[in-house]
Every structure is written in C-alpha cells, then in structure tokens.
C-alpha cells in the first residue's frame, strides 16, 4: 500500500489487491464501464466524446469530480480543429458562443519575438497561391524588397482580416479567396467545461461528486480496479481516464508512469493569469507578446479580456512576472492574479495499463500556440479510433502512445522554433534560447529553409507548411535563396500578379463584417457588446 498527496492537499491511498476484481469470469471481459476522473475541460470533453460516439453501443461513462477542487481551465484560445469536435458531438455554434462568451479567432499575433518592435500573425490559412507547383512565398522572397510588394502577411486573407478586426466564416467555393482560411474560438474556459457537461449528461454520462482518496490496483495485473471516494463510495471501471490535471492522480501517482521533461528546450515553468475589463475593438485573434523572460497572452472574449504571463522562474521572480502582467493590462483587473506551476514535457506513456491520460495529466506544452485543447481532442479522437474491446489491448495501447508521442514531438519542435529563431539579445533568457542546442529534427528544418526556402513536410502532425512559413519569415529568418523556377516568370509579370493579389485580398476583406458586428447579427453574444 502507498499513500500519496493529492493535488488538493488530501491523502490518496494506492492499494494492491488480489486479482479477483478484474478477472472474476472466464476470458477477457468486454469493456463496458469507463470512469473519467476529473471534471475540467479535458474531463467533460472526454466524457461528452465517449458518450456521443459510443453511448449507444452499451458503454457506460461515469465522471467523478469534486466541486471542492478547482479546475485549471486550460485553453481559452483554441485551434480550428475544435469546430470539428463540437460539430461531431452535435454542439450548436451560436448556443456555444453565447454560453462561453466566445469570440472568433483567425490566428495569433506574435509581438517582439524576432526583434523588439516586430509583429506578425500566424494565421489559420494559406499565404497567396502556388504557381506552376512553386509555393507562393518563393515568389514573394525574390521580390520582398521591391517597392509596393509589402510584407508576406498582406497575402494572407485571415491576416488581413485580423488587422481589420473583420470576420466571416470561410466560403464553400474553393475558387474564392474567402475559402483560404479556417477559424477557431476564444472562449471562457471556466464556462466551456460546464457547457460540455450539459452535453455529456444529456447523452447519458453519470456524474459523481466526491474526492478520490483511494486507488485500488489489481495485485496480479497492476491495472486500476477501482477508486474510492471520501464518503467511502467505491467506483470500479474497466477503463479509467485520468483528467486530474498536472497531478496525474491515476497515471502518475497510482501507476508511476514517468514523465519526460523538455525544460531544457522549453524552460518556462510558470504562468500568472488575470482577467481584465475589455477595451478597444474586439479582435479576432490572440496576442502573444514576448517579454524579458517569457511572454504575455491577451485573449479577447465577449465580456472580458484574458491575460497571462508565461515565464521561466530561473530568469525572473514571481513578483516581477506578476508586476509585468499587471502593468500591461489594458483595463481594470477583474480578479486577483492566479499562479500556475508546470513542467513542460510528456508522460512516458499516455495510455498505461487500463488508464489513459487526457489533458494536462498527459503532458503540457506551454500555451504559445493554443495546443492544449487540440491535444485533448486528439487524445479523445485516437482513443475512439482504437477503443479497446477488452483488457487484451497491448497493440491498441502501443499504437495510441506512438501516435500521441508523434503529436507531442512535432508540436514541441514548432514551439521551440519561436524562441530559438530570434535576434533578441536583451536578456539572459533570450540569450539562452537563441543559442541553445535544439532537437536535430528542428535544426535540419531550419537549415533547409535558410538555404533553399523549402519547408520540410510531413503527413502527420498539427503544424503544416504555412505555419512554419509564418513563424520563420515572421521572425526574420528569410531564406538565402528561392526556388529557381521563380525566374521563369518575368519580373514585371510577377510584380503585377503580386500587386493584383494584394488588392484582391484587401477588397475581399473590406466586404467582410466587423468581428463584433458578426457576433451581434448572428445572435452569438450573451449581452450587447
């Protein structure tokens, strides 16, 4: 028997029993009962996803949470994939927008990353159009310094829309420039979990209130047999989903899975967050402003602005980090600042024995590119695809872990790029980030781009070529050369095409609604903005 401290300060006991709990009958038992532990964003999304997709197959989903334990409320800013998740489980967009005070998001603005004073937007869309199989940015590179060509972002419709605070959903017509982007949401994460809860419960999820004080492991298999709550209630299950946040109550405290730290590449380990009153136009994008030892986020919601400062405690004190955040608020604070501690990295196995870690219990990559909810979604999607029939599921488990590892690794490299591809030398933090050794996979990508303008591609992973181009060029990593086929077109033809495309983008965006107007006209606001 082991005793461990839980996240909320109480004691959790891990007990090992005989094997009778799991193997009372002949042959492997069909998985019929899933227990989700933890009721934040990850917990309720998982419960809603499982119940929506598998509820009608006889799968019973129970979610255990305690009102006494707060939730981290990850992911106020999201990626376009969340729309697919919401659509799949039957969420009405307008209802969701109202319930979570959501706004639309077309990208992320990065301020002060390449150099102080710089600003670029990583959009959810393409840059320009390829020509004769040659990527647009190759043409732009040749003429980047020519008069009238302007920055690359002028050739991205979502960026132009962001700069103008405009929004409309993309067109279904693939010939239209208005079809060249996707959108995500910025929402109140503390309201998203309750919203998911209503959906999950409507689809048959049972909620149990209570703190987990005891995790019972099967003595023979080592699997989790049951959990015991503070009131003595025992809840058994065939498969357990750990959504208990950084603490990893089941996956780590009970199963001792292990954690791979990536702090040498991503040393930020704390965040301080505070909401403030909303000021100025409602922007359809999140902002990430680089600071002395980290960066600040700004997420505009309907009713407030979310703010936070992610930093490395090795380079700045908590007090100074908080002062930086508060000093830069655009309006009066609406709450006291809240401190979060984390270690960037990933659980060694996200699915270990009969426990799957979804959300922060599985790993944490800092929120620079809004990947937290995406990783929750991927965890749920891959679990659904590989959902085991019984306890004999080594193959499914290994495949799940392999695919999730790939997701984490590739996102990790992309995040490191933001810190490493910088010219900043104004603090110890930036000197470290700029000069550190990065993973070989990232180093090779950066070298290829620098020498040729080509971005090494892969088929599986979140961030594809346009994302890499946005950050590399946005952070002044202009390639030394461009594709030689660019020279096939005459300079005057290319200049005319660039100019025409730029005008076309600007005209298309001019016809779009203002972001706030769109929300109002489509009954997506909780109250008048």
């Amino acid at each position: 028997m082991r005793t461990i401290d839980s996240a909320c300060g109480n004691r959790v006991i891990v007990r090992h029993t005989g094997s009778e709990i799991l193997n009372s009958g002949a042959g492997p038992k069909r998985i019929e009962n899933v227990v989700v532990v933890g009721g934040g964003t990850a917990g309720w999304m998982t419960a809603a996803g499982l119940a929506s997709m598998l509820g009608s197959t006889g799968l019973s989903v129970t979610l255990v949470e305690s009102e006494a334990i707060g939730i981290v409320g990850v992911g106020e800013a999201t990626l376009p994939h969340i729309k697919f998740f919401n659509d799949t489980i039957g969420v009405d967009e307008a209802e969701f927008m109202r319930a979570t005070n959501a706004t639309f998001k077309l990208g992320i603005e990065f301020v002060n990353w390449g150099r102080k004073g710089d600003s670029y937007i990583h959009p959810f869309g393409e840059f320009g159009l390829p020509n004769e199989g040659v990527a647009f940015h190759q043409y732009w590179r040749k003429f980047a310094d020519a008069p009238g060509v302007g920055p690359l972002e002028d050739y991205s419709l979502p960026v132009v829309a962001c700069r103008g605070a405009k929004f409309q959903p993309p067109s279904d017509d693939p010939r239209s420039v208005l079809s060249t982007y996707r959108y995500a949401y910025q929402f109140d994460a503390l309201k998203y979990a309750p919203f998911m809860r209503t959906h999950a419960e409507a689809r048959g999820v049972s909620r149990v209130e209570g703190k987990v004080v005891d995790v019972v492991l099967d003595g023979e298999s080592g699997d989790i047999g049951s959990i015991t709550l503070e009131d003595g209630q025992s809840i058994s299950g065939d498969l357990f989903i750990d959504c208990t946040g950084f603490f990893g109550l089941l996956i780590e405290q009970a199963l001792q899975t292990g954690y791979d730290e990536w702090t040498k590449w991503l040393p930020c380990d704390r965040a301080v967050a505070v909401p403030c009153e909303h000021m100025g136009p409602l922007l359809p994008y999140t902002r990430a402003t680089a600071e002395e030892a980290g960066w600040r986020w700004r997420i505009p919601l309907q009713h407030r602005t979310g703010n936070g400062h992610v930093y490395s405690s090795a380079f700045i004190s908590d007090d100074d980090a908080q002062e930086t955040l508060v000093r830069n608020l655009e309006g009066p604070a609406l709450a006291d600042p809240r401190l979060l501690r984390f270690v960037t990295g990933k659980r060694r196995k996200l699915w270990n024995r009969n426990c799957v870690a979804v959300g922060l219990s599985g790993g944490f990559l800092e929120p620079l590119e809004s990947t937290s909810i995406y990783l929750i979604q991927e965890g749920i999607t891959k679990l659904l695809e590989l959902f085991p029939v019984d306890a004999e599921n080594n193959v499914e488990r290994e495949e799940y872990n392999r695919r999730m590892d790939l997701e984490f690794d590739r996102i990790r490299d992309f995040l490191i790029l933001h810190y490493h591809a910088t010219e900043r030398d104004d603090s110890e933090f930036w000197n470290y980030m700029r000069t550190m050794n990065v993973p070989d996979t990232l180093k090779e990508r950066m070298e290829l781009f620098a020498a040729t303008g080509h971005v090494s591609s892969y088929d599986h992973g979140l961030f594809l070529i346009p994302s890499w181009i946005a950050v590399l060029i946005g952070q002044r990593r202009l390639p030394d050369a461009y594709d030689l086929r660019v020279n096939q077109a005459s300079d005057s033809d290319v200049a005319a095409q660039l100019s025409g495309l730029r005008r076309h983008m600007a005209k298309a965006v001019a016809s779009m609604s203002g972001h706030a107007d769109y929300l109002t006209k489509n009954a997506m606001i909780e109250r008048a903005l």
Binding site: S56, V395, A450
Partner: protein, 352 residues
C-alpha cells in the same frame, strides 16, 4: 549554386518522364537540359510491356507538363485504370485506387463490413469496390468519360507512344535529346540517373539516382516523377547545399522504405516473420482492430493497403466499436444499397 548543365539518363520511358518534367521546370532559365536515352526495354517486374499503368497522381504530373486529356485520349489503347492487379504469395491481389464502399459518420467502410460479416450478413469485401467493378469495364471505356467520374483513376497508356510524346514535350521546352548514353555530352553539373540499378538511391556528389523497380503496376512511375519534382525543387537550384541533399535523401529513403513494406506484405510467405517495423505495426494493428496506421511519405493509398492485407488473408479480429452504433437492420439496408450501386457498375448500367 545552380546547375548550368543537367543530364538525364536512362531507358527511354524513364528518361522521358524525368526529362520532360525537368525540361519544363527549367525552361527559360539559362540552363541546358540533356536527355540521353537507351531504347525502350519495357518488361518490368510488374509485367508491363506494350502498355503500362500510371497511378492517379499522374494527373498532377500531367498538369505540370500542360498535357491535357484530349492529347492522352488520342494515344492508341489509352484507357482509364481504376485498379491494378499484383502478384502475391497468396495469389493475385486486386488493388483499387478508391476506397471500398462508403464511410459513414466518420467510420471506415471496412469496419462496418467487418461488423456485418461477424453477423453473417455480407459477401466478400471486394464486392463493394466500385474501382474493381469499374476496372472490369475500363478497357472499353472512353478515357474522356473517366474524367467526368468522381472516382480517382490512373491511366493505361501505350509505352512507346507515351515516351515519344513526353520526349517531344521535353524538346519543346528546350531540352536536347540524345539517343545513347554518354556519347555526346561529357560533362554536367548534375546527372539525374533514371536507371533502376538496384544500388541505393539518392543524391551523392553530382549524381541523383531516382528510379526504383516495383512489382506493383504504376508504383515505380509514381516514385520516379515524385523524385523528378524533388530533383527540380531541391537539386538543380542548390547543387552544393548539404541541407537540400540531406532532405532529398531523407524523402527518397522514406519512400523506398514504404514501397519495400508494401512489397514485403505482398510477397513474404510468412508475414509473422517480417522484421520491417512499420509493416509489422500495420499488420498487428489491422488484425487487432481493423485500423491501418499510415506513416509519413506513404506511396500506396490506405485502400491499397487494405486490399493487400485482405489479399494476404489478414482479417481484423473485431470492428471499430463505433461501428456498433448502427443497428443491424440499418447496416443491412446501407450495405444492400451500396451493393446495388456496385452491381449497377458491374453490369454497365451505371455508366450508360
């Protein structure tokens, strides 16, 4: 540094495919493109001779060359190709270019079929392939009709005529075409070798080896024009760039590995003994739950992997649990309707 003179060498069809693309891409760039070819010796492992097969990706290749459907249609014996047949240790394998049946609510068709099969409802999975059904009618099908269908298709083309057509396009784009190897051009900045020598492919010094032999009809040509494109985008403009060379070799190697996986699946007698990790994973996961894990840089499509696994007698032990969400009555109705549609294709009624 960019190349000033490039030589493409190989047997005529291979040299024509690579040469036409390189010539087109380098036209007007103050760069000499020479194509040195040997007479056609078309008798590949895939049993191709008078005619040969190009896979659906070829339409993009033709688009880049500016080659239109009418020109292709004018070639003798030109026909659409919806599926190919490859030899395997378990007999012939039909490999369609489009999915079996139809996915429903995000669940792949073969998962639904597996469930139905478990309930004793349905005949062979292959009977639900519109591509295989269409292939039976493909020889007599007007090529122009295929372009109006929504299914992916490749092309069956006359080898010599097609090689001539591409050589003519290469000449139009400014390439110098020479009959015979090494007779007229003695030096070049870059040599693109299209001879499948069996040696390791890739970029070494000033030589790019870009060809691979395959026992699956069409696979080697797809590999060849993919590598030809890479030769243009990474090779010709970046002769002394280590990063470009490394990327070229990485991609080439990955694709060769995926092709080798596919061949091993078809040809190895005892698949349990395979030591190829990605193939072993495909087999294990497919048998466990019917999913086919795809790698980066796959050359064969998921539907071809499914068909090949099927042909080797591998079957999932269970279906995706989400397939159970459909009642058996709904499933029966869904499958019956699909079967009717495939029957209509087989009888020719759907194409009239």
């Amino acid at each position: 540094m960019s190349a000033r003179r490039v030589i493409i060498r190989g047997e005529s069809l291979r040299a024509a495919i690579a040469g036409s693309l390189v010539a087109r891409a380098c036209s007007g760039l103050n760069l000499e493109v020479h194509i040195e070819f040997l007479p056609l010796q078309m008798r590949t492992e895939a049993g191709e001779g008078e005619t040969f097969v190009l896979r659906p990706d070829v339409h993009r290749f033709h688009g880049e060359l500016g080659l239109d459907a009418a020109t292709l249609h004018s070639l003798p014996h030109a026909a659409p190709c919806f599926a190919v047949t490859a030899g395997s240790s378990s007999g012939e394998a039909s490999l369609p270019f489009a999915n079996f049946g139809q996915a429903r609510a995000g669940i792949e068709f073969h998962q639904l079929w597996t469930r139905a099969s478990g309930a004793g409802l349905q005949p062979d999975l292959l009977k639900f392939s519109p591509s295989i059904a269409l292939q039976n009618a493909a020889e007599s099908m007007d090529l122009r009709k295929a372009y109006k269908l929504s299914l992916p298709f490749g092309l069956t083309l006359p080898t010599a005529h097609y090689a001539d057509l591409l050589m003519a396009l290469a000449k139009q784009a400014g390439a110098f075409v020479h009959d015979g190897l090494g007779k007229q051009v003695t030096d070049a900045d870059l040599i693109i070798d299209c001879s499948p020598t069996g040696a390791a492919n890739g970029w070494s010094a000033n030589r790019l080896a870009i060809a691979e032999i395959s026992g699956v009809p069409g696979l080697e040509w797809q590999y060849l024009y993919q590598n030809s494109k890479r030769a243009v985008s990474l090779g010709i403009g970046s002769l002394e760039c280590d990063a470009a060379r490394s990327e070229f070799n990485r991609l080439t190697k990955e694709e060769v590995e995926r092709i080798a996986d596919f061949h091993e699946l078809l040809k190895r007698d005892d698949l349990q003994e395979t030591t190829r990790p990605a193939l072993k994973r495909k087999i294990d996961v497919f048998e466990a739950c019917g999913r086919i894990p795809m790698e980066d840089y796959e050359v064969a499509q998921p539907c071809e992997w499914l068909a090949a696994l099927w042909a080797r007698g591998l079957r999932p032990r269970r279906c995706d649990r989400r397939a159970e969400a459909l009642s058996l009555a709904e499933l029966r109705q869904f499958l019956d309707k699909l079967r009717e549609q495939v029957n209509a294709i087989e009888s020719g009624a759907a194409l009239r």
